[in-house]
Amino acid sequence: MAEQYAIEMRGITKTFGSVVANKDVELNVRPGEILALLGENGSGKTTLMNMLSGIYAPDSGEIRVNGQPVTIASPQDAKRLGIGMVHQHFKLVDVFSAADNIWMGKEKAGFLLKKNRYDEIEAMAKKFGFDLDPRKKVHNMAVSEKQTLEIIKVLYYGAKVIILDEPTAVLTVQEIQKLFGVLRRMKADGHSVIIITHKLNEVLDISDRVAILRKGEYVGTVNTAETNEQQLTEYMVGRKVDLNIERPVVEKTRPLLEIRDLTIKNDEGAVAIDHVNFYIRGGEILGVAGIAGCGQKELCEAIAGLRPIEQGQMIHKGDNIVGLSPKAILDKGISMSFIPEDRLGMGLAPSLSITDNMLLKNYQDAKGPFVDRKQGRADAEHVIQELGVVTPSAETPVRRLSGGNVQKVLLGREIKAGPNVIITAYPVRGLDINSSYAIYNILNQQKKDGVGVLFVGEDLDVMMALCDKIMVLCHGKVMGVVHAHKTTKEELGLMMTGSLDLTNKYEDKPAGFAKDTNFAPENQGDGKGET
């Protein structure tokens, strides 16, 4: 008898229409090991894991658990076999307490909600070394708490094999370290962990072995100790890739966009951006770092004219843009693209073709009552050519494209309009290495052309390599603007959590005010008092 694996997947194939998501994939997980599953977008990682957790059934192939062949036809089957998955998008009921979210999935939970469920779940959380308030409602939880809850949930159901789909995407550096601590403890307890992530440094940090998929096909499994980032990337992409992000040095211009004393409320009426001062010059990329939901979205929306501001000034090349319509702000050359979690919510109309999406911001410019589709088609062809969008045709609905291509279409349209300020939030969200680098190149090209770029990002490594300066937000307040090549991840992490405030590091001028400002002299100093 060969080695006993906790999970064996043999010759797994899964197709969606003519798309082959997985082809003849092999995967083995030993008890008590952490296996990283690595691959580009659309390489079939999540599909493979969904088959293990009973969401999809394979077209062909065999799954064995502890050596026994099994059929996993539903998530209940997976639960019974001791397989639990923490999905990228949490599957929690917002208005329920932590305990009830766990309780409702329990088999034989009985008809009545018993009082002792809180104690039981608290005790169980403690046993695994988690810190969790079982009475806390999910909608009051931070992202990391929700994730902890998801992990406790699968452990409570008795999972021996735990699958985590991109768990680190939403966490800060410190939270990631905490999560990895938890995973190592689970491993020591004999659990098997499968972790999906794009970030190579994390793979090297946490895993014992790495399985690599490329375009749905199984490339191989390597021992983490015997590999490095360069090799993993080559396996993943299929060729050599230069992992350095360029940071061209460009002559900077006078400030294009200046923000003074800006205060914005979020949808719930709470202060999202709190007396913020900053400016962007042409030829620079200003990064905005912060934990998810720190006012990034509100800031982007306010600059684009989509959200009213409470207080403050926004000056573009010396002209006030507060109170202008979104259309008027567009016409000034300020482009905003925000990639939300679902990637399609803002900026694109998913059911419409690429051509129609190209027309979104300039359809009004055509003469007469009709839309100029000829122009749209030409623009679409141009963007498809220029950025290498993979699509059957310019008439394909955007929602049928893969994530990277969707984002290229969005950014392509924004750049085609020839903006002088680009606000871009999470442009590489969920993208693989190849597509991400394509986007970085686009942004760098814009920077060279003298455009001012505000880059709201989540990956600190990338921001430190790509941006000229990084502004850190914490609960809507600016914690300081640092030079990207001088700072460290730890420093940024501390600023993001509010433990370090560097706003008054430069004493020669008020923080966030440009020396060669376009503000009229009498406005100088406005709003200084509040920061």
Binding site: F16, V19, S60, L306, G345, L348, L360, Q364, F370, V371
Partner: protein, 371 residues
Amino acid sequence: MRFHVVKRDHCPLWKLLGLYVLAVAVALVLGGLLLLAMGVNPIAYYGRMFTMGMVGNKIAYKSFENYLKVFVPLALTSVALSLAFKMRFWNIGGEGQFILGAVAAATVAFKAGPVLPEPLTLVLMCLAGMLAAGLYGAFVAALKVRFGTNETLMTLMLNYVALYFITFLGETKAPWNFYLDDTSARPIFTSFASLASFPKIPIGKFGLNICVILTLLIGVLVYVYLKYSKQGYEIAVVGDSVGTARYAGMKVNRIVLRTVFLSACLIGLAAAFKVGTAGILATTITDDVGWTGVIVAWLSQLNTGAIFVVSALISMLQYGSTTAASTFSQVDSSFADMLQGAILFLVLAADFYTRFRIVPVKKGGNDNGNG
């Protein structure tokens, strides 16, 4: 053997049409079984129904004229609804908008008919019907953009308000109530056909009502409007993603109001066509086009051309079953409703097959023999 559902990438047109034809055929077979159970020869019945009693009939042209009277309001209402549906505004208030349009048009006919020339009266009837229905629809749209109310509930409830309003008019004998027949002791609606009636273009004995031509013309205009105009583009974007529309600088509220007003206006026009042809009001004036129109719009997947084809077929079912009922007295004309329901269900089922395939699960790997 286990089966599972697999998504199709692309369904060729012949297969698509084939599936739809098959769905209709299966519905007819089901209906046929029912007819057999009632002791009616299905072939004879269907023959009568689909020829609408025109074969071997000396006044077949009359039948066709009557068929078109069923077809026009349904087609126009369905086209109107597709405008709102394209924007994902669930206007199921076609019934109510139709009734108000009909009452407004009739009011103009009664009041302006005796003093103004007939063509002018007819134009005013159309405008009044459009305005009344349009405002009734825009009211719901205004509540939605202002207070975020649910348009499905609002339009649905307003249907009943309109229905009770016309019932009230039809049942209240009073000196002010000019809609009723003075000479009758019982409250019945009176005819204004002598005052205002849409003209027919004679083609031999057959008279082609001008409303048919206008309806076809509006169909073409709506098709062009949705597909090529800036406003049609805005409707598509708002329907797809309100967030994106705002982001692109569109005035979403204005677009919603405008589109719903336009949608309801066209329903009002359908109502004006209807009363201007019938020459009388009735509490059943709508012939359920507000409901059937929803079905037609969806069966056609909001494609304007398809709407005309589907309304022609549904009208054929409805009018044909009334004609057939005169020969086959044991089969009520509501048999058409049943058949319509069966067709709807089966076409939706066929729709599923255009998007998915069902394939057996292949056993892969090596058989391990331990079952």
